[in-house]
Symmetry: none
Subunit: 215 residues, 2 copies
DNA sequence: CAAAAAATAGGGCATATGTCGTATATCGAA
DNA sequence: TTCGATATACGACATATGCCCTATTTTTTG
């Protein structure tokens, strides 16, 4: 039995979706929510769920933000955006947020069902017009610059050096060797780097540094 | 009547595709070719064609190059890649070359037919696993730039899941939590991942995986 | 169906890592 | 010239990690 949740601020549309799914007796709609934060509350109690059908435009917490949070906390739950709109920005943001598919609400019951099943099998659900838009997005990398957050991060030049070594996957001792420092010093530098970047591990540090074009 | 051409260096497969399409009497296979340059010759005589089903790996002129040329000369003709392989590089190159869809040869007649119709209606034909790969390509624009060394690396789907968690900078225990596994299992998965990727730390694993478009 | 691959789980051990101390020297800016 | 930031260095401790081992169950595949 496939455990589904529906999130949509329009209760009529929730009903319509439920009705479409009612044809298939291996699908159980476990719960529905009118916005993202309502969903998150329910997931906190019970996240025994296979897939969420998620609207995008919702009050309080929209579908994109909700997807990001759910994917981070409960990566086993698949998410299909199910929305009336298909503009490029929504699609791209949904994909970046981790959506496993993107369908339009006008979809027929059979295609919706197949989309759900295929998504649970590791594929992605997409109707052809959306698929075409993703292809166009891929052809135009201009559109996919990551709008990196620009908080002030100022590392000293020595810290950047250490970070560059870190990014190569080297250990404290090897880095110390390379930079002619004692391992203690390298450790201290890394401690300071972590504090500045507000992270707690090598990987996070390297990733954050990359996002900020520090390395 | 939809006018189709098939390009494939394997005449058995051409026959198989023709047979799949024979169920649908609004489709006419106008001609077939065994490679890209044969197709181009035929198109010079007559390019009154709606859509081409194109193999990728062919002698003389492969499917990617052919797609590029056809799209340039005859932009009204839609092209669906129909191939046995679905590695990221092929997919990305095909999309860049202008393909309007990407299907696998194992496809059933009905889905093939629907893919053709949807493509001719301005959509894109894609089976779900391909769609998922395009989503991943969109999420990791970095990888689009460097289609690197292509040693065979085959991770199981569970291993990829673990790797994705690793890439977020999570610890063994947190990953275990997220994936509902015991920490021992996560460790074992990571051990196996390291062996397959021939690396010895989280960072190296994540980096190598990224370069190979695994995550 | 049998064999192979994948997924699960645990034990043990040496080393690495993250985090807290402390401490000294240098240098540029307030 | 004193202060703050930087660079250097060491100690200690809990936890994480990398790597070795074994073992059962499930899934895939020939």
């Amino acid at each position: 039995m496939l455990k589904i949740a529906i999130v949509d601020d329009n209760s009529f549309l929730i009903h319509a979706i439920k009705e479409k799914l009612s044809f298939f007796d291996d699908i159980a709609v476990k719960h529905t929510s009118l916005n993202g934060s309502e969903l998150l509350t329910k997931l906190q109690e019970n996240h025994n769920l296979d897939l969420i059908l998620m609207d995008i435009e919702m009050p309080v917490l929209n579908g994109i933000e909700t997807t990001q949070i759910v994917k981070q906390k409960y990566p086993h739950i698949k998410i299909i955006m199910l929305t009336a709109f298909d503009n490029d920005e929504h699609i791209f943001n949904a994909i970046k947020a981790g959506a496993d598919g993107y369908l339009l609400k006008e979809i027929n019951p059979k295609d919706l069902y197949e989309g759900i099943v295929e998504t649970l099998n590791g594929g992605a659900a997409m109707n052809p017009s959306i698929a075409m838009k993703t292809l166009k997005l891929l052809r135009n990398p201009i559109n996919i610059q990551n709008p990196r957050d620009q908080e002030e991060i100022s590392l000293s030049s020595r810290e950047v050096e250490v970070l560059e070594q870190l990014s190569k996957g080297l250990s404290y001792t090897v880095i110390a060797d390379h930079l002619f420092l004692s391992p203690s010093t390298v450790r201290k530098h890394i401690e300071n780097i972590y504090k500045k970047l507000q992270v707690h591990s090598k990987i996070e540090a390297v990733q954050k540094a990359r996002n900020h074009n520090i390395i």
